[in-house]
């Protein structure tokens, strides 16, 4: 199997206290693990969705793939080449092949520059010289369904949906092979988020680009992703085919998340599970299965032992002692 992107056992930790504080608190381990031991792979033309609540470590994981965060352990391979440990200079060619879209549609655009400059900036950064900037801007705007008249606008003159399209155009400029999209529908109304998701799907059909989509919105995941991974406290609790997981969630957390994203129907059955409590802080990870503090089906074993990752069905992994 030769995946486009292969992430293995990534561990990303941040210092939680400075050295003096740690010394005073006699804390030998003044770190928090934002992502611990996560593995995933993405094939060409495929979409993987990363799902979880805030603080799950989704964004950190995504940023490590694009080189903004350096993992302490593990490996990230893109087309077989190792990305971990590369210097900024050595990483630069990979920025052509991996693009990232950030959460805030307007805030991720440099505020004092025009749309034309912004969408053709990737060419300038990567010293692509033999292009006509105007024509290129026009082509990219057309690709994302905006008219050329937008080229002279500034970010603050765009609506959320329009700014998101500009973001897509920017990501597409260098025809990347993988786009990492952090909450592509954040801050957009339901009537607009469909437009953006349809655009991403259309582009994927046309260019065979792969997507890693990070979201907390389960209801969009069903439509846009081929496979999905559910993250909790920096680990994957369940990973597999999207349709399969929606049909048969095996992990209680997945089931709880699905229940919290209800189909808007006043008459739907109300027998679904409700998760109790809140995500624990990364500083005080629970022992045993880390989900046991919120799990409605918790048993004694869960409090003691961390469950191993098991493949319940083909290509469907979960880590739970008592899968549903």
């Amino acid at each position: 199997m030769n995946a486009l992107l292969q992430v293995e056992n990534i561990l990303i930790r941040f210092r939680s206290k400075n050295r003096i504080q740690a010394l005073l608190d006699r804390d030998r381990d003044p770190f928090i693990d934002a992502v611990c031991g996560v593995s995933l792979d993405i094939q060409k033309g495929e979409t993987l969705a990363l799902v979880g609540e805030s603080g799950a470590g989704k964004t950190t994981l995504a940023r490590s793939i694009i080189g903004l965060v350096t993992p302490q352990e593990g490996s990230i391979r893109f087309q077989g080449q190792e990305l971990c440990g590369l210097s900024d200079r050595a990483f630069k060619p990979f920025h052509r092949d991996i693009a990232m879209m950030f959460q805030d549609p307007i805030g991720c655009l440099s505020p004092r520059l025009t749309v034309r400059y912004l969408i053709t900036e990737p060419f300038k950064i990567h010293k692509v010289r033999n292009i006509d900037v105007r024509a290129e801007a026009k082509r990219l705007l057309e690709m994302v369904g905006l008219s050329e008249s937008f080229a002279d606008r500034y970010p603050h003159q765009l609506s959320g949906g329009q700014a998101r399209r500009v973001g897509v155009a920017r990501a597409l400029a260098l025809s990347p092979k993988l786009i990492v999209a952090d909450e592509p529908t954040a801050g957009l109304d339901v009537s607009v988020q469909g437009e953006v998701l349809n655009l991403l799907a259309k582009l994927q059909d046309e260019t065979q680009v792969s997507f890693l989509i990070i979201t907390h919105n389960l209801s969009i995941v069903r439509h846009i992703s081929d496979r999905m991974a559910i993250m909790y406290l920096g680990r994957f609790v369940e990973q597999g085919e999207t349709g399969e997981i929606f049909a048969h969630p095996h992990h209680p957390y997945t089931k709880g998340l699905l229940a919290a994203n209800p189909n808007p129907d006043p008459d739907k059955p109300k027998d679904q599970i409700e998760l109790q409590g809140e995500i624990p802080s990364l500083m005080t990870r629970p022992g045993g299965c880390e989900f046991h503090t919120r799990c409605p089906f918790v048993q004694d074993l869960c409090r003691i032992d961390a469950p191993p990752v098991t493949e319940v069905e083909s290509e469907h992994w979960i880590s739970c002692h008592y899968p549903l």
């Binding site: 609540e53 009537s191 437009e195 209800p262």
Partner: protein, 330 residues
């Protein structure tokens, strides 16, 4: 108790609100009419910019300084709030009507303890400070804060967002109000917390037998939580009815399109999600016809010329669309 006389605790009639801007008057609300019956939960749903928050802020007159109420009445327990003096209005605030705000991280005072804040808001009551404190602890326990007696002396920053929102709800319900206004109380929270808090709110509403006007853009939450639903678009109420009227028999093309867009409703995987093309019209420079005309898939000649009235579809269900005119205007 006055609310036994009136069937509905809140009755807003033709409320219009304008914002003074550099370009002229932005007509944020136009002829908004809605009713909150006693002991019911009414959901106010719409996309950003539809004016749903403006409605509930105008009820307590907590709007921005450039906002002016240009017409209509807000009848609360039979009295028009807009005719009250500011001290009479202040007497209602936090006593008969209270409010939960959107952002739990900023809606509590950061330098005062929860204890101080919860005792202060009981300033109307003549009971002793110890009794006030006990009531605060009881209410905090009621909304699901573990070990409330110990944590009362804590400051807001000691609590997570979900906990702070529970505290806000506890504060709002402390005076056992007749009406609770909730402005997207769970939007800033994670989905699993959202469900917990909404279920808790439903329970409290039953226990205290109050009414709730619940503002949200989250259709799933509205469907699960509310008894009645009011749909707003660009500053107007386009449809109102029982929760089943709206979710099963939506009449207005906007409501239908909005429901279609929600990816949670679409069971089959699709790579072509429905959308509502176009933008909300400019609220300063106004179209003469139906407000939704430019985006409506079912528009015809008449829609462009004059705005539709409110038409009755069934005893519990009204909508503002010419296609539904046979039931007669109200």
């Amino acid at each position: 108790m006055t609310n036994s006389i009136h069937a509905s605790v809140l009755d807003i009639r033709n409320l219009s609100v304008e914002f003074a801007t550099n370009r002229g008057r932005l007509k944020a609300l136009r002829d908004v009419t809605l009713t909150v019956p006693n002991e019911k939960i009414v959901g106010l749903v719409g996309e950003s910019g539809c004016g749903k928050s403006t409605v509930i802020f105008s009820i307590l007159n907590l709007m921005a300084e450039n906002a002016v109420i240009t017409g209509g009445e807000i009848n609360f327990e039979g009295r028009d709030i807009l005719k009250l003096s500011s001290s009479q209005l202040r007497d209602l605030r936090g006593d008969r009507i209270s409010m939960v705000f959107q952002d739990p991280m900023t809606s509590l005072n950061p330098v005062l303890s929860i204890d101080t804040q919860m005792i202060d808001i009981q300033f109307r009551s003549s009971i002793s400070k110890a009794e006030k404190r006990q009531r605060a602890v009881d209410m905090l326990t009621h909304v699901g804060i573990p070990d409330a007696a110990h944590r009362l002396k804590s400051y807001p920053h000691h609590f997570s967002g979900g906990m702070r929102q529970r505290i806000s709800i506890a504060m709002a319900l402390l005076a056992k109000p007749a009406l609770l206004l909730a402005d997207e109380p769970t939007t800033a929270l994670d989905a699993t917390l959202e469900a917990q808090i909404v279920h808790r709110l439903r329970q409290l509403q039953k226990d205290l037998s109050c009414s709730i006007l619940f503002v949200s853009h989250h259709l799933g939450l509205i469907a699960e939580f509310c008894d009645q639903v009011v749909v707003m678009y660009a500053g107007e109420v386009v449809e109102a009815g029982d929760v089943r009227d709206i979710f099963h028999r939506a009449g207005h093309p906007y409501t239908q399109a909005l429901l279609e867009c929600d990816p949670a409703r679409i069971e089959e995987k699709t790579r072509n999600l429905p959308t509502i093309p176009g933008d909300i019209p400019d609220l300063v420079d106004f179209p003469s016809g139906c407000i939704f005309e430019n985006r409506c898939s079912k528009r015809f000649e008449k829609c462009r010329i004059s705005p539709p009235l409110r038409y009755r579809i069934s005893p519990t269900h009204t909508a503002s669309c010419f296609l539904l005119a046979e039931g007669g205007a109200i």
